[in-house]
Each structure stands twice: as structure tokens, then as C-alpha cells.
Symmetry: C2
Subunit: 521 residues, 2 copies
């Protein structure tokens, strides 16, 4: 459901994976090359792919696994997922959407019922054919998404208009056995997500929900992950297989000049309803067909956040999603009052915790303060508080921001209040900075030459388009190459003015809308 990207010539981020894999598979316990906190060997601006592969591991978000394309989500990543989950789950419960759990397995009969849908997913479906030593009578698919698993039961449960709307969601794992370059969080063979599946009596109600959910996705990216996104509509070529239309929140990674589909909210129309006979008796006693939506966001969110904010020192976590928002580090000095410093650190954590700030102290005695600074910078903790003899004497703490390195002294007297203020400011600054970087990449083009030029400069291209499927296919063909082809990312809801007579940059036909184009993940 998180969309099917069709071109896949990408960075070579799988190299590191192999290396780690070999270590583990062969059961040898080789010397670890990089201990956490000793810095990154790649720079974000020089070698983005390697930098990313390194930072997710060194920042302890991911461990590479001995099956290619599968990754271990370590607690540092899971805690972010849990924060996003808590937010989203509460919001959809307010909307009266209920959680359910459908099986992991899908029988081939139902999987293949919707033609377009299965065409989109078939090449990536993993099949179970054996249990123990025995062959199964019929191979069984592992869900790549659950439309076909769920809708036979929608048909069963929905009888009359009073059974509508039916609004379900599930938190689960799905499997898409892709063979092109796997990338932690961004493109993996198994990932975690939520998938919402709803049915309404009218298209109007379905349309409203599509946008309500999309707004929650925008909030996840912009308010929580501090990642700017564009809301928009996917082209016919890029929409969800079997659906009516797809809306998306689209992010952009300046370093690679690639768009990335952040999360999608689809109106399925009545296509699946037809295939699965999801009918109901309406208020007039007539037989009618439901209108359906499906929508999902995945652990990809975390990868987009890392790519957006991370730097050469490691991860940079927005305060709203950081499990540890503040790390408190004692800085003892020879003859100084060490116990007093430790006590002040503990008191600081207590004060902050009591104000709802997630703070922790690092009291380990086998690491120097300097090592700890690097370590927590690598892990992206938004704010560091140092307490040394001078701070103790002056009844203050020193606060150092992860986002911009700025240092301030905060009096103990109004610690919690000021720390809250700083955290808010970090959250906002991360978003504003990312937004400026993104905006600096937007290039408006009107001709094919401008388009190819902007593409080679890794721009996020906004172009007038005739909205014809064949033209998009043609653009793909003409831009195919080592870096992957360009395609539409979305047509933003927020449309600039389109003067009468504007022509499509690619076909020269009359343009119907502004559309974002670019390479994508």
C-alpha cells in the first residue's frame, strides 16, 4: 500500500550489509571495527549512501541481519516507532476506527481476485510451500498488503446501511520480496506499518476520510519528525494498484535529489467492492455497493527522518520523537566535589522527568565526558546537559544543542521551563532548516531542456503537465539511465497559478496542472 515504485536503479548501499552479514553468519566473533561514539567514516555530503548505511548502524537504530533486505529494529528505533504509533493510534480511535488483526497468510484464490492489484504485487509475493518436511497442498502467500485478505469478510459483515461505515485498522508486518537495492527503513523485504481499511455508503464520506488521514500523515512528518512534505495526488501511473486515486505526503532528500513517498491514503472507489461483492441495502431498501479506502504509513518514516536531519556526527533526533530528549553528563574535575556533581545530575534528571521531559544521566565511570559527548551526539539526543564544578558553584547547568551546537547556561531555578523552551526551539529549527533546504531544491521548469538540466542538478522539479499517462511513460523512457528514471512524484494540492495557454514541458500539449517530478526512492 505504501505504493509501488517501479524503477529501482539506486545507490549501492548494500555493501556494508554483506560485510556485517558475513561476520554473523559464520558465527565468528570478529573484532568490531567501529565502536559507538568513535565517529563516522563517511560524510553526508560526500558519500550519502555510505553515510546512511553507517549512521543507522553506529547510531544503534538498525542491525544488519543475515537475510538480505531484512533488518533488526533496535530499541533506539523502536521507541520512535512507538511514539508515532501512540499518536496515530489515539487519533484514529477518536475517528471511531477500530483495531483488528487479520492473518499473515493469504490464499492464492483471494489474492488473485483483483487483476490490477495482483499485477502490481505478484512479483514480490513470498510463498510458503512447505511445513516441516511436508509440501502444502496449495502454496500460501504472505501478505504484501491486506486488501484481498480482508475484503471477503467485509462482504460478509456488511449487510445494511447500519453496518456502515466499517472502519478497521491493523498494526502489523508485511513482506514484499524486492530484489533491488534494499535500504534500511526505506526499502526492506519486511516492514512494520499500519494499514487502515474502511468502507462507506457514499463516495463523499470516503473522500473526506482520505484527506483526514493524509493530514495525520502530514502531522507525523512535519510535527513529529520535523520533515517537510507536500500533500498531493499521485498520477494514474503511480497510484495504488487497483484503486481509484491515491493521495500522498511526499518528502524530498536534497543529498540524492530524490523524492520519497512518505505515506499514502487511497480511495479505492468501488473496484474492490465489485470484485469481492461488498454490497449493502441502503436506506431506501435498494442494493448498493460500498466505497472503500485504504491507507498506511510504515517504518520508512524513520529512515526519511534520519536522511533529513542526520549529520557528520551522527543521528539528529527531533525532540518529539526522541526517547531520550536530554542526556545529563557529569563532568568531574580532580579535586572538585564529585559527589556533589553526581547528585546535581541526578536532581536535574528528576526535575526534568517530573516536568514530563524524557531525561537520563550517563553515570558510567569507564568513559570520559568527551567520549560520552560523541556517543550521545552519534545517537542524536537533542540536548546535552553538562554539570561540572563551576556549574555546581553557580547553581546552573550548561546546555548544548545537538542541532546547532549552541551552548547556554541555564540557572537551576527555572531549569524545566527553559529546557522545554529549548526543546521546542530545536524541534522548530529542525523543521525550518529542512524546509529551507527543500525549498532551495525546488526548480520550476517549462521546457524539456530545463527539465533535464534541473534533473541533472538533483532538483525537485515543478512542471506544468498535460496529465497523460503515455507522456509520463515517455518521460521515464527518455530519462532512463544509471541513476534511474524520472517520474511524477505528485501533483501538489497547493497549486501555483497555471496561466491559460501554458504547455506541458514534455508533450507540448496544453498543461492541466503543476506536478512535481524527479527521481525517487
Amino acid at each position: 500500500m505504501a505504493g509501488k515504485d517501479s524503477d529501482k536503479g539506486k545507490n549501492k548501499e548494500a555493501k556494508k550489509e554483506k560485510q556485517v552479514k558475513n561476520e554473523v553468519v559464520h558465527g565468528k566473533k570478529k573484532e568490531v571495527k567501529k565502536e559507538t561514539g568513535l565517529g563516522l567514516s563517511y560524510k553526508k555530503d560526500e558519500n550519502f549512501g555510505e553515510w546512511y548505511s553507517e549512521v543507522v548502524v553506529t547510531g544503534e537504530m538498525i542491525e544488519y541481519y543475515d537475510i538480505s533486505g531484512c533488518y533488526i529494529l533496535r530499541p533506539w528505533a523502536m521507541s520512535i516507532w512507538e511514539i508515532l504509533q501512540t499518536f496515530f493510534d489515539a487519533e484514529i480511535k477518536k475517528m471511531k476506527i477500530k483495531n483488528t488483526y487479520f492473518p499473515l497468510f493469504v490464499s492464492p484464490a483471494v489474492l488473485q481476485k483483483e487483476k490490477d492489484h495482483i499485477e502490481g504485487f505478484a512479483p514480490e509475493v513470498a510463498w510458503v510451500t512447505k511445513s516441516g518436511e511436508s509440501d502444502l497442498e496449495v502454496p500460501i502467500a504472505i501478505r504484501p498488503t491486506s486488501e484481498t485478505a480482508m475484503y471477503p469478510y467485509f462482504s460478509k459483515w456488511i449487510r445494511g446501511h447500519r453496518d456502515l461505515p466499517l472502519r478497521l485498522n491493523q498494526w502489523c508486518n508485511v513482506v514484499r520480496w524486492e530484489f533491488s537495492n534494499p535500504t534500511p527503513f526505506i526499502r526492506s523485504r519486511e516492514f512494520l506499518w499500519q494499514e487502515g481499511h474502511t468502507a462507506f455508503a457514499t463516495k463523499e464520506e470516503a473522500d473526506v476520510e482520505v484527506l483526514e488521514i493524509l493530514e495525520l500523515y502530514r502531522r507525523i512528518y512535519e510535527e513529529f519528525l520535523a520533515v517537510p512534505v507536500s500533500k498531493g495526488k499521485k498520477s494514474e501511473l503511480e497510484k495504488f494498484a487497483g484503486g481509484l486515486y491515491t493521495t500522498t505526503v511526499e518528502a524530498f532528500i536534497p543529498n540524492t535529489g530524490r523524492g520519497i513517498q512518505g505515506a499514502t491514503s487511497h480511495c479505492l472507489g468501488q473496484n474492490f467492492a465489485k470484485m469481492f461483492e461488498i454490497n449493502f441495502e441502503n436506506e431506501k431498501g435498494e442494493k448498493a455497493m460500498v466505497w472503500q479506502n485504504s491507507w498506511g504509513y510504515t517504518t520508512r518514516t524513520i529512515g526519511v527522518m534520519i536522511m533529513t536531519h542526520g549529520d557528520d556526527k551522527g543521528l539528529v533526533l527531533p525532540p518529539k520523537v526522541a526517547t531520550t530528549q536530554v542526556i545529563v553528563i557529569p563532568v568531574p574535575y580532580k579535586d572538585a566535589n564529585t559527589q556533589g556533581i553526581y547528585d546535581a545530575c541526578a536532581a536535574t534528571v528528576k526535575t526534568l522527568n517530573e516536568s514530563g521531559i524524557r531525561a537520563e544521566a550517563d553515570f558510567r565511570d569507564n568513559y570520559s565526558p568527551g567520549w560520552k559527548y560523541s556517543h550521545w551526539e552519534m545517537k542524536g539526543v537533542p540536548l546535552r546537559i553538562e554539570i561540572g564544578p563551576k556549574d555546581l558553584a553557580n547553581n546552573q547547568v550548561r546546555a548544548v544543542r545537538r542541532d546547532n551546537g549552541a551552548k547556554t547556561d541555564i540557572p537551576v531555578a527555572n531549569l524545566a521551563e527553559q529546557v522545554k523552551h529549548v526543546l521546542d526551539s530545536i524541534q522548530q529549527n529542525l523543521f525550518e532548516t529542512a524546509k529551507q533546504k527543500r525549498e532551495a531544491c525546488v526548480q520550476v521548469v517549462k521546457t524539456w531542456d530545463e527539465f533535464t538540466e534541473a534533473l541533472s542538478q538533483k532538483k525537485l522539479i515543478l512542471a506544468p503537465w498535460c496529465d497523460e499517462e503515455d507522456v509520463e511513460k515517455d518521460v521515464k523512457t527518455r530519462t532512463r539511465g544509471e541513476m534511474g528514471a524520472a517520474k511524477t512524484l505528485c501533483s501538489p494540492f497547493d497549486q501555483p497559478e497555471l496561466p491559460e495557454g501554458t504547455l506541458c514541458f514534455a508533450s507540448g500539449k496544453p498543461a492541466k496542472k503543476w506536478t512535481y517530478w524527479g527521481r525517487s526512492y
Copy 2:
């Protein structure tokens, strides 16, 4: 991890499943035979297996799925799972256990590393051999449990004593492709659970955790689900494959006279540590091996609750796990003030919600109050509140308990307080009643004849035992039959006195402990 039960001649609860399956697979929308709220066709005491299969569907906990042994968890069941999850997750976080997520897939190389372990699980492992149209180079297993998936990385992450303890947990699905009678919640091919995996420097620390977790499992059953359990230790034959010892909370279903393993907390000892080379440098600088635990509880908990409390009217949910604790039903009457009654219902819900009670009103106008009573009884809502003209006039509501049918009038003035009190009383009554029923089933036996007699009477047998594996095997052989063989359930921690010279009921050798025996799920 939720243990491997070895004998499986059970009730035939799969009949209904086939029926429903055919309806769905063939895509036909046949007339539904039973609408919710029209009552059950089987009685719990007369035909337990059929009653259970019916009540889980009619109570809207489960929908049978078109793959045998897989079930849909509907919102009414998922909300219970979520309540248990919220409790347990918060408790383990207090213990500094962190959530993680390991892949669904396990490579054959690591899966087969621990011999006893894989022997226990191999026959039930589901294998992925194809993706799309292509055969995989090497078949890949779906996790039946994650010891072997995780421990290569424990080996990688643990270097020195400061890396210990390592305490991880994950919430996920697992697959065990069993071929014997599947039963919703109780025995299914895929289920949801949490699995904790921890490593310590010393056995003492591991031992402590095993019991701390077991206590949380006891609380889930006794405090939340109102199901009495015995804490105890599994025999060598019944312990977790590859572990050192297994502790369990063991429930009992009087209707079938079967024990049921509620949840298990294992000390793995150093066996896996040896296989996976999980070593560390201890404080003296010497190389040492970790001590490990693993522990899990599953959606089976919900099935045990249903079996324990359900009755001929449907489900009976303990208030602590009921999403809807109170259902408010307007009872309008001809000329009476209907609007006033509806307003009073809404006000009642509001008052209760504000006091933290999960209440809802059923305002549907196409069902009679009587139909609604049956419907919500079927769904097991603990307390029903009816408001009619007389109640309105007297400034009171009528409250009807689901557990015992008792009716009381509650003045509106202290509504929330009294409702809270009644809910507490229901919770306690369910537990006490279940405990009495269980205790009435316990039979102390000292001889083989007493044992077989008690077994035929579906008793929970407490017998002195020599604790020898061969003797347990022998008991199994001698009791094998249509109903399944008897085996040890657990040796309770709470041991009655064992007078010197007491002999084993089965072998005549000196008894070492009291042990629960019986047939089991």
C-alpha cells in the same frame, strides 16, 4: 516458547470453521444463519467444544478465515489484547526491558544451530521457498519463536560485563504450522505474543527475572482476566526445548477437565549461549558465558478467559479487560418523555466516562430494548444500565450485572461511585467463582487406581511423584486414548506437605514432590 504440547487428540472444534470457510472461499454471500444477539444453539455444559466455537464467533471476537488454523481477531478481541499489552508493556519498561523488532524470517543455518530446540519446533516450521515466480536459493523459515534469530546478535552486542544485562522484548506474530485440531485463540497456526529475551552475567539474576515475569503473567490471568492459575515448574519432558527450566502459570478448564498452559517464563541456562558463543569479559577480566531467559504470553490468554467465564448467553468479560464496561440502553415507553430518556442516557455515559469508566449508549432505533439486552449479553459487557420513564421520574438508573443477573437501582446522585463499586464486585466475583470451580476439581490421589478414576472424572490431579522422566513417559503411554494422554501440568511452587515415605502414585518409588497431572490443551 509458549511451550510445546506433545499430545493433541482433542475436541472437534474445527467443524464450524469448514462451514464458514466454504462460504467465504467460494465468494458466495449466503444467508447468515445466526445474527448476533439471537442466542447460542449449544450449551456450555452439554457441548463445550461447539459452544466455544459458536461463542467466539457470535460474540464477535473471532471470524473464521479461509486458511485453516488462522483466525481473524476482530476489534472486540483486539481491544482486550491491547489492554493486556498496555499493562505488561508498562511493567517491563519499569524493569528497564526495551522493545525491539527482529525479522519474521530465520535462515536455516541459525535455526538449526541448537539441536534440542530445533527438534522441538522443526515439524511445525513454515518455509518460504518462492518469491513471485522464482525459487529462493535457500528456503527461509518463518519464526516459530525467535531465540535462534536473536542470539547471533546477542553474541555481537555483548562484549563486556557493562553490556549486561541485555533485556529485550518484542511484540509480534509467530507461526507454528500445527496439524491437529486448531482452536481459536487456544491453538492457531499464527498467533500474536510478546517474547522477552534477556542475558545476565549471573544465574542468580536470571533466576530472579524468571519469577518477576511469571508474577506479571499471574497478574494478567488473575487480576485482569479473573482466571485463577497455579504457578509452578514444568517437568523435564514438558520444559522448553533447549532450555534449563521452565516456569508456568497453569490454568484449568473444568468443562473439559483439561489443564492449559497459560504463559511460560524460561531460564535457558547457558545452553544457547554456548551454541551462539555469547561470551563477555567479566569484572576480573576473564571470559565468561551469559545466562539467558526467554518468556512469552500469547493471545491464548483471551481464549482461556472465554472458556472460564462464558455462559449460555454468550461471553462474560471481566470489567478490567472489557472495552465497554457499561452499556446504557434507553427503554422508551409509548407516551413517556422519550427525549428525556435519551438525554438521561447520554448524561449517564458522560458522567461515567468522566470518572474513567468505559461506558457507551446503544441508541439504535431499529432494535428493541430486549434485542439489545441479548446482544450485549452475548458480547459479555459486564454491566447494563437501563433507563425508562420510571427511572427518569425517580432520578435513578437500573443496573443489571452480566455475571449473576442481579438488578439494582442506582440514584443518579452517586452514579459513578456506585458503578465503580459494582464493577469491582463483578471482577472479584468472576475470579472467586472461577477459583471455587477450579478448587472443586482438584483431586489428591496417591495410587494408580485413584489416578485413573480421577482422570475419568476430569479432575485436576495432584499426586506425589518421583520426578523421573521415564515414569512420565510411561504414564502417557498407559493413558493414551481418544481423549488424549495424561501428563504433568506443573509442580506447583505452593507445595503441600510431603510426609517422609510418601510413594509416587505411578512408579511406587519415593515421591519427590507434588505435581499436577491431567489432560491438557
